[in-house]
Symmetry: C2
Subunit: 238 residues, 2 copies
Amino acid sequence: MPVEPMPHYLRIRDQLAQDIANTSLSQRLPAERELAERFCCTRVTLREALQQLETEGLLYRENRRGWFVSPPRIRYNPTRTTGFMDYVEAQGRVPRTEVLAAERRAAGPALGRRMGLDEEAEVFHILRRRWVDERPVMLEEITLDASWCPGLLDHGLDTSLTRVLREALGLSLSRSELAMHSTALVAARATPLQLTPGSPGLYVERASYVEDGRLVEWDQEFWRSDALEIVIDARYPD
Amino acid sequence: MPVEPMPHYLRIRDQLAQDIANTSLSQRLPAERELAERFCCTRVTLREALQQLETEGLLYRENRRGWFVSPPRIRYNPTRTTGFMDYVEAQGRVPRTEVLAAERRAAGPALGRRMGLDEEAEVFHILRRRWVDERPVMLEEITLDASWCPGLLDHGLDTSLTRVLREALGLSLSRSELAMHSTALVAARATPLQLTPGSPGLYVERASYVEDGRLVEWDQEFWRSDALEIVIDARYPD
């Protein structure tokens, strides 16, 4: 079977992506005219390649100043249980957690079903935005069974929640079930991440259990697609 | 800090998503007028909620026939090494693998660097499309070090590649490194998946090694965002 020829702009995209990976491109790209000459293509084809890399999150554009290489993605291994503040810092970046809202409320029917609680059961609902190097990268909605961690809201939540639970309340989780898929971010989630509504994002759902198997925390994370790389190792059975 | 009120269409979205999860909605949704009455909202607000669920892949629309619940996502645990044909079938779905192209070529500079091969080294390049229940869900570009598996192209590749390598050639992998992120699918990848260019998708890159640590296979997968759920377990240290 013949191989369908790859469109020219995609070959240019691959070469540029390679140059970015090799950091053989300066953080600010040369002018479009210069790049078009280098790749012997039209400005139209070049712009197709640049826009493709923009949607992939490898490049971003600044009005009038041209094209720039995006900062590297934060690498996150979900099989490890290191928290955001730790794995971002370990990669030489600056993490920040901003609390947007924190309240006590009734679980309600939908969440009650999801967490195995009565509709009237009290939960803590915490909305946070997380930053890397002064760029907002993730919105998270955290729900906790209030009967498990009463008094949580008396503590500062602009840090690692796991650490607050462990160090201030002496509580620790046993295991988490994660589910993730790519999605398009709705306005209410895209705007706080400085994105246009409909931009691609990664949705991560985390259900966390204590030793006796009780579900005590249920989180939803919405990530900018250009901020995160999920990395995982797999071993084949002998 | 006050909780920003959630837009009405998002609350309707959450209720509908819950109904879908509970399969308390028939596969075909009631008429928009009926739904708008049930949620005491305008048709405009209802449509915002439905379109949000469409971008998330929970619903799809058929011209003139109305709204339908999307088939459930295939659940895939990347820490296990079960192949597509097996984990799709294990979920009571019908997997199919279609070979679009298979050729022998020189690695070239970019791929050579990535795989640690000379530019002139021979690789097998295989392009496949994978289906679930007669819906195309994933495009994959597989590159293999030809010196590791000479004669591979003499075998049928419309099945599990791992099985062909093991059973026909007596070759097996030791471990894989996976990296994944959400992205927007370019036309060349969206169209074969029956999507509009720019639709969100999941990009999965897999580098596979043999026992002695040599990288022999490098794959790129492009998934429809509504077809796949990545599921992972994490245990917290005691």
